[in-house]
C-alpha cells in the first residue's frame, strides 16, 4: 500500500513539473509573437535583422493601408551609390527583407529567378548600413533585382518585420502584407493587382478613363 502511494506521489510530481514546463514554453511563444509593444525587446534580444538564424514572425498590423500616398524611397545601393526612386507609374513590388531572417532566405533566391506577377518591377529594401552588412547582402542579393538599403524607408512604411511586401502603383500603396512563402506572396500580389484591375474596369464601364476630368478635381497641374 505504501509503495502504491509513493509511486502515485512521484507520478503526480512529474506531471506537475511537465505542466509547468509546458506553460513556460507557451508563455515564451506568446512573448515572441506578441504585439508591437514587445518588438523592440525582441530585437534587443537578437530576433531582429541582426539576430542571425532566429525566425522572426511579424506582428499582425491592426489595419492594412490601401490607396494612400506611398512614401518616397531613398537609400544607398550595395555598391555605395545613392538612389531615390520614383514610385509613380507602373506597379512596383517593394520586398522588405533582411539578411538574418530565415523566412527571407527563399525570397532572396526566388526573386532573382521569377516575379510573383509577370513583368512586375521589384525592389528589395533592407535596413541601412547601420543595421545590415553590405558584404553579407551582396552574397544574398540576386543580380536582376535592385537592392536599396534604407532604415528610413522601414520607418516610413511602418514595416512590422520581415519578410514584408508592399505593392505601389502611380505613387500610391495598392496593398501590403506578410508572406512567408512564395505562393503566399504570389497570392497577395495577384489579389492586389486583380483588385486594381477591377476598379479600372468598373470606372471604364461608366465612361471614366485615365484622363477623365473627374480624376483631377484640382485641375491638371
Amino acid at each position: 500500500m505504501v509503495a502504491i502511494v509513493s509511486i502515485e506521489t512521484v507520478v503526480l510530481v512529474l506531471l506537475v513539473v511537465l505542466v509547468a514546463a509546458l506553460l513556460r514554453s507557451h508563455a515564451e511563444i506568446l512573448r515572441r509573437l506578441g504585439p508591437d509593444g514587445t518588438r523592440s525587446e525582441r530585437e534587443g534580444a537578437g530576433f531582429g535583422p541582426d539576430g542571425a538564424g532566429a525566425p522572426r514572425v511579424p506582428a499582425p498590423r491592426s489595419g492594412l493601408r490601401a490607396d494612400i500616398d506611398a512614401p518616397e524611397l531613398a537609400g544607398t545601393t550595395l555598391a555605395g551609390d545613392a538612389l531615390k526612386l520614383s514610385l509613380g507609374g507602373p506597379p512596383t513590388l517593394l520586398a522588405f527583407l533582411s539578411s538574418g531572417c530565415t523566412s527571407c532566405v527563399g525570397f532572396w533566391e526566388k526573386l532573382g529567378e521569377r516575379r510573383p506577377v509577370a513583368g512586375l518591377d521589384t525592389v528589395i529594401v533592407t535596413r541601412g548600413p547601420e543595421r545590415e552588412q553590405p558584404g553579407k547582402l551582396r552574397r544574398l542579393a540576386p543580380e536582376a533585382v535592385p537592392v536599396v538599403m534604407s532604415s528610413g524607408a522601414w520607418e516610413d512604411y511602418d514595416v512590422p518585420g520581415t519578410p514584408y511586401f508592399v505593392l505601389v502603383e502611380d505613387g500610391a500603396i495598392r496593398g501590403e502584407g506578410v508572406a512567408t512563402t512564395w505562393d503566399a506572396l504570389a497570392s497577395l500580389v495577384g489579389d492586389a493587382v486583380e483588385e486594381q484591375r477591377g476598379v479600372d474596369e468598373r470606372l471604364a464601364a461608366v465612361g471614366i478613363g485615365p484622363e477623365h476630368p473627374s480624376l483631377f478635381p484640382g485641375g491638371r497641374g
Binding site: 518616397e72 551609390d81 545613392a82 531615390k84 520614383s86 509613380g88
Partner: protein
C-alpha cells in the same frame, strides 16, 4: 526634399523627383536626376532615361571627368569655376542633345568645382513655353548641389 549623397556629391531632390549618384570602377562620379521615373541602370549621359522622358519632363546629368590626357581641371573647356545654376532657355536646342530625339532640347556646360572637372547635361521635353519653368526647377536642384574635393585631388 530628399538628400542624395555619395562619392563626394550631395544634392536635394524635390518630391516626385528620382535620382541617383553612382560611380563606375574606373570613372568619376555621376549624378542623374529627373522629375519622372528614371531607369535603374543607365549610361553617364542618361541615354535610357531620356528615351523614357514624358512630355514636359526635365532631366539633368552631372558627370565627372578624369584629369589626364590633356584634360586639366580649371583649364580650357573646364575653366569656369562655378556650377551653372541659372540656365538660359534660349541655349536649349536639339544640337545640345547627346542623343537627339523629337520634342527634346538640351544644353551642356563644362566647369571645375572643388578641383573636379564636370559636365552638366540638361534635357527638357515638351513645348517651348514650358522651358522657363523647367529650367527654374532644375536651377533650384543645382543650387542645392555640394561638391567635395575628391581624395587626393587638388582643390
Amino acid at each position: 526634399m530628399t538628400v542624395l549623397e555619395a562619392h563626394g556629391l550631395r544634392v536635394e531632390l524635390p518630391r516626385g523627383w528620382s535620382g541617383r549618384v553612382f560611380k563606375r570602377d574606373a570613372g568619376g562620379a555621376t549624378l542623374h536626376a529627373g522629375d519622372f521615373r528614371l531607369p535603374l541602370e543607365d549610361g553617364e549621359f542618361g541615354d535610357r532615361s531620356t528615351s523614357t522622358m514624358p512630355a514636359g519632363a526635365s532631366f539633368l546629368a552631372l558627370t565627372e571627368y578624369r584629369p589626364g590626357a590633356g584634360l586639366e581641371p580649371g583649364q580650357g573647356l573646364f575653366a569656369p569655376r562655378r556650377v551653372p545654376t541659372t540656365l538660359d532657355p534660349t541655349a536649349l536646342s536639339s544640337r545640345g542633345l547627346a542623343h537627339p530625339r523629337p520634342g527634346q532640347a538640351g544644353t551642356q556646360h563644362f566647369f571645375t568645382v572643388a578641383g573636379r572637372p564636370f559636365c552638366l547635361y540638361v534635357v527638357v521635353s515638351g513645348p517651348r513655353s514650358e522651358r522657363r519653368r523647367q529650367l527654374a526647377v532644375i536651377g533650384h536642384v543645382l543650387r542645392s548641389l555640394r561638391v567635395h574635393p575628391a581624395a587626393g585631388s587638388p582643390v
